[in-house]
């Protein structure tokens, strides 16, 4: 079972839910897919080791062979190549590594080298939960490439929990795609509801079963619950707007560790997900 935790709006509690769920279950792998701002390990404190560099193949132009025919710079959709009168200029941070310029070059003047975009790291030795994260280098834009590499470490025999980045754009799709279930974390505020609707559109578009967790329950109004009821979206859990939970978060402590009664509730979430998936399977058969 592969569960991805997403949200639309940032700061609603994706990391909180991912961590507490991972700590409540056994035989779990936890993946921090928010590679622009990975926070899970601040709460886990594992020693991390690099398992791989995430790279992007980029062109190197042999200026002696280059006839400045401009085919590569005319072709590049990302404006990573520009033709000057005397040479072709390359802007590495704009390159998506598609390889088109190499294919096109009539002079065979382009070869590719691997440019690092970020790293995949894992908790050293035996950790509980088993933990992996991606980290995008500062100034890089290829967020989805790092997420896609990170997801290769999912072991189908275990429960995988993925902490997704906020928003509804390509990094979210890269995280959610191919997962068995999506938990959308929201808060009951106008911003929370607005961004929840966008996130629901995303998971519906890519056809993944989903449910909602309402965080800071009690804040704002009841519109999120009303929306979920009207849309037939299961509300898996309500986490109250509790100062103690906020303070534990600020210190980097997953609250199931200090408030063990919550372990049961997160176990309940995983049971509810299993049930929802089983019912869905029955319906499709």
């Amino acid at each position: 079972m592969k569960i991805v935790i997403a949200s639309g709006k940032g700061g609603t509690g994706k990391t909180t839910v991912s961590l507490n769920l991972a700590l409540a279950l056994s035989d779990v792998q936890l993946f921090d897919c928010d590679v622009e701002e990975p926070n899970c390990n601040l709460f886990l404190g594992f020693d991390l080791e690099k398992v791989e560099d995430v790279v992007c193949p980029v062109p190197v132009i042999n200026q002696e062979k280059c006839s400045i025919c401009r085919q590569c710079s005319d072709f590049c959709r990302y404006n990573a190549l520009a033709a000057l009168p005397g040479r072709i200029l390359f802007f590495p941070s704009l390159c998506h590594g598609c390889g088109g310029c190499t294919v096109l070059c009539p002079e065979n003047a382009i070869r590719e080298v691997q440019r690092p975009l970020g790293v995949i790291e894992k908790a050293k030795g035996e950790s509980y939960p088993e933990f992996y994260r991606g980290l995008l280098n500062i100034g890089e834009t290829m967020t989805s490439a790092v997420i896609k590499r990170l997801k290769k470490y999912i072991d189908d025999r275990k429960i995988a929990i993925l902490d997704a980045p906020p928003g509804t754009a390509c990094p979210v799709i890269a995280s959610v795609e191919g997962m068995s279930y999506c938990v959308l974390v929201t808060e009951s505020t106008p911003f929370g509801l607005h961004d929840l609707r966008l996130a629901v559109d995303v998971v519906r578009t890519i056809k993944i079963p989903f449910g909602v967790i309402i965080n800071r329950y009690g804040l704002g109004d009841s519109r999120v619950e009303e929306y979920c009821n009207a849309e037939g979206i299961p509300v898996l859990l309500k986490i109250p707007n509790d100062r103690k939970i906020a303070e534990l978060y600020s210190q980097g402590i997953p609250f199931v560790r200090e408030m063990p009664e919550w372990r049961e509730k997160f176990l309940g979430v995983s049971e509810a997900i299993k049930l929802q998936l089983a019912v869905k399977e029955e319906l499709t058969i």
């Binding site: 709006k9 959709r77 390889g99 928003g167 390509c170 978060y249």
Partner: protein, 310 residues
């Protein structure tokens, strides 16, 4: 024209709440909502849309099944795994690079335009606003951020505004980079949590990478005073001004429920706590304005004089 971008690294620290409040205090500004994939500013500012345009992102590849002979070249050369066994293109995976069009010997692959969202030119009670909506799961949110910023510039010229206030996205990736490049000043809203501090350091690195002067404001400072001190110490050592600290206050949510900025909400309700919060925001905005005036003097001395003569 001066551009101020508000970012945070971590989401949910109060960017939009404070940017909306600043918009209500600034007298000569255009507002740009550049958090394009979870845009919320319009929920408070309720813009009246003047003009709407389709936004075309990167093109998407399409394969004509009549012409395709199934040679598999496109599948082989696509580095994004966007072509399936039946030679159909998955639009969510396609990055629009067009490599498939050059390797196809049959001319069966072509690039089609795709509407990736809409951009809006609007008016609000605090002045003009540029904003957008990104289509579900679309690529190129960075490009859309750039489009919103360029629309904001057009509005600033049209309405003779000297300042653009940009509500940025979370993170450090393509949208965040698009929101800060070329800005004159970056304001980072941070909360004193371990995640907040970690993400602050990453965005400060990002702003330094693009050599943009940066300011910090601490929101919800009282949820962890020890962490607040750590942030202040860290920023002081790095030479980054910390403009102020705001307490945790549910005024942000209350104001949001009434579609008001925290300044408006405090003005309409006579609660000491709320008023105190709004005053703190006013003080922070006053110091930002001072810094912005400095930036403008340094950048283009003659321009403010010309404006004064008008």
């Amino acid at each position: 024209m001066i551009q101020l971008t508000v970012i945070s690294g971590k989401g949910g620290t109060g960017k939009t709440t404070l940017t909306a409040a600043f918009a209500s205090l600034a007298e000569n500004a255009v507002i740009a909502d550049c958090d394009v994939d979870a845009a919320d500013m319009h929920l408070i500012l309720e813009p009246g849309i003047l003009k709407k345009e389709d936004y075309f992102g990167l093109e998407v590849s399409r394969i004509d099944p009549e012409l395709c002979i199934g040679c598999g070249k496109c599948r082989e050369f696509c580095r994004y795994g966007a072509v399936n066994e039946n030679f159909e293109v998955d639009p969510y995976r396609c990055e629009g690079c067009a490599v498939c069009t050059i390797v196809c010997s049959e001319g069966a692959v072509y690039m089609g335009k795709r509407v990736s969202g809409q951009v809006f030119y609007s008016e609000t009670r605090f002045g003009p606003m540029a904003h957008a909506r990104l289509g579900i799961g679309e690529e190129a949110s960075g490009k859309l951020v750039s489009a919103v910023r360029s629309n904001a510039k057009k509005l600033a010229e049209q309405y003779h505004k000297g300042l653009i206030i940009i509500d940025g996205p979370p993170g450090t990736g393509c949208s965040a980079i698009a929101a800060i490049t070329g800005a004159d000043l970056v304001l980072v809203i941070v909360e004193p949590t371990v995640s907040g501090i970690h993400d602050l350091k990453r965005v400060l690195e990002l702003a330094a990478h693009f050599m943009i002067p940066t300011l910090v404001c601490i929101n919800k400072y009282d949820i962890n005073k020890e962490n607040t001190r750590l942030i202040e110490k860290f920023c002081t050592e790095a030479g980054i001004p910390v403009l102020g600290r705001l307490p945790y206050n549910d005024i942000a949510t209350k104001a949001m429920l009434h579609k008001q900025t925290v300044i408006e909400y405090a003005d309409n309700n006579d609660y000491a706590n709320e008023n105190e919060f709004a005053n703190q925001v006013r003080i922070i905005w006053a110091s930002i304005e001072e810094i912005l005036a400095d930036v403008q003097d340094k950048q283009d001395g003659p321009e403010p004089l010309k404006m004064k003569n008008l």
